[in-house]
Symmetry: C2
Subunit: 324 residues, 2 copies
């Protein structure tokens, strides 16, 4: 099934999540409501709520309970984006002005804090301490991931393991717990929600590797910002680390990266991108993403065959085939 | 009993809280650990943990449980300070460099996020959904309070109610729930923890009014920064709002405030401070603070007479008598 068909089948429940998201950020403070709503309207794939809902099908599915997990997970994702935009000094995201650009850094800071708080407050409506704990711990790990990214800016000597650990915290963990918490909220057994966790984790790893590839190989039209944005910012991703291990590429690529760093991101990334694109690193990174997808699908074996399982497999294949 | 004597009597338990605080922010990320530890070492009165511990005495006091409430409350307070320092562009706090000054805004942003997450994660060790909910909701209200402060910057036409609602969210709420959650964690009954909540709330209101008075009446040595910092920043506090209602003071004070705003805080606050200091507003604000203290002590009536109760009363009196 195509991705759009999966979304179409889930439309009723996703509409409920969407209006709950809108309601959740409506506070008695007009500016907070406005900034948060602006953020919501910028859209996104709502992949975390989709994972929650599909995972919930492996237990006793109850939309009232599902939404109290789906909404907080999307909110935490949104809050992390607002704070990232402050850090990255980003003017636009998904073609819309960012909160920090439309208002300012102060508003973006407190809008993020507010949304984090709201997320945790909604999930406490489910009187399940295990869910609260998993969510709070994930928030901590996500922050560590963001800090790791800063710490490794322009660090060309970091290991592949450093990179993998970072994207695990930054991206894969939230997708993993989306699956896990959806199943827990639906009362599923540990052997079920542990498999779903592994599915989400592996899809998340593949997703971030693909995203990092897209930033290097895509066109500005495809990715909504100039290619090479990561490298400009100092974020050295997997294909770059791999390319740096190739003897004919290392020296000229190092020179380009140093130039980009020394010009504070004002330097041209064209030559660097050209070197990376012709490297084996791109192929190896693609292969690694595919391996994560295979692992994700493998994790679902042993779960009952049902539509939700097929949908998750289809979504995993879609992540693997993202075009760049 | 003097404040120092109360602290001395509690030293054993407060030392445990102190080392738990240090342990809680030790992560596998060196920069996060360093930034958080720097923040911890800057000290503070640890009034929230003190309230938690004293409130716990009204139930079945168990330090293991107490610390899982006391530590998160102090951490939330600390996280809000780090984020405020980014917003206020503050270079020092309590005579120490701020995280944003010692490192930068990015580090301060994620250090704050990390500490918030840690706080919520520690409290989930207590499998008490009510406690999780109260804490998460308070975080949301605190953010709204901060946003309200920004919204009302240089707004001289705001009502006294606007001011009181703001300091309630910004300050009083966290002190209120410190008392409430300490008692809940100790298994106290609602009629007990509701009274303690009211105590903390009223002390908190008095505390913030006194703090705002101190900024107008204190010396640089007493308050650790030049007096009039609030007004420079645009934060119009109670004594100023009251002074603006006095016919002989309103026009010249308005002129001074407009001048400060138009010079982006570079203008001199001396004339404004002189006008405010001679106003009735100072006396009325002092009287209001005293009334909150009286209400706080009243809230404790009906609770069993024990050392903890006497200590809370002494702390309330101390807040009322802060010298400026």
């Amino acid at each position: 099934m195509k991705l759009l068909d999966i979304y179409a089948k889930m439309k009723g429940d996703l509409d409920v999540i969407e209006s709950e998201l809108a309601r959740s950020v409506t506070s008695d403070h007009p500016l907070l409501t406005e900034a948060s709503t602006h953020l919501l309207k910028a859209g996104g794939k709502r992949i975390r709520p989709v994972f929650v809902l599909l995972a919930g099908k492996f237990g006793t599915y109850d939309l009232e309970r599902m939404k109290r997990v789906a909404v907080p997970l999307e909110l935490i994702h949104m809050a992390s984006l607002v704070h990232d935009d402050v850090i990255d000094n980003a003017q636009t995201r998904r073609g819309q002005l960012t909160v920090k650009a439309k208002w300012d850094n102060r508003i973006a800071m407190y809008t993020g804090d507010y949304i984090y708080g709201k997320a945790l407050s909604i999930v406490t409506d489910l009187h399940n301490p295990l869910i609260h704990q998993i969510l709070a711990k994930a928030m901590v790990q996500m922050c560590i991931g963001e800090m790791e990214q800063i710490r490794y800016f322009f660090n060309t000597e970091q290991s592949i393991r450093d990179y993998l650990l970072r994207i695990r915290r930054k991206t894969a963990l939230l997708l993993a717990i989306s699956c896990q918490l959806g199943a827990i909220a639906a009362g599923a057994e540990p052997h079920v929600y542990n498999r779903l966790y592994r599915f989400g984790y592996n899809v998340g790893m593949a997703f971030q590797i693909s995203d990092d590839l897209l930033d290097l190989l895509g066109t500005e039209k495809q990715i909504g910002k100039p290619p090479g944005s990561d490298i400009k910012q100092g974020n050295i991703t997997l294909p770059v680390l791999l390319a740096l291990r190739e003897s004919t590429i290392r020296d000229p690529l190092m020179k380009e990266i140093i130039h980009i760093r020394e010009t504070n991101g004002a330097g041209d990334t064209k030559s660097a991108l050209k070197l990376i694109r012709k490297s084996e690193g791109v192929r190896v990174a693609e292969a690694l993403a595919s391996r994560y997808i295979a692992k994700a699908i493998e994790a679902l074996q042993g779960l009952p065959d049902m539509t939700a399982k097929k949908n998750l497999v289809d979504i995993a294949h879609f992540v693997a085939k993202r075009s760049y």
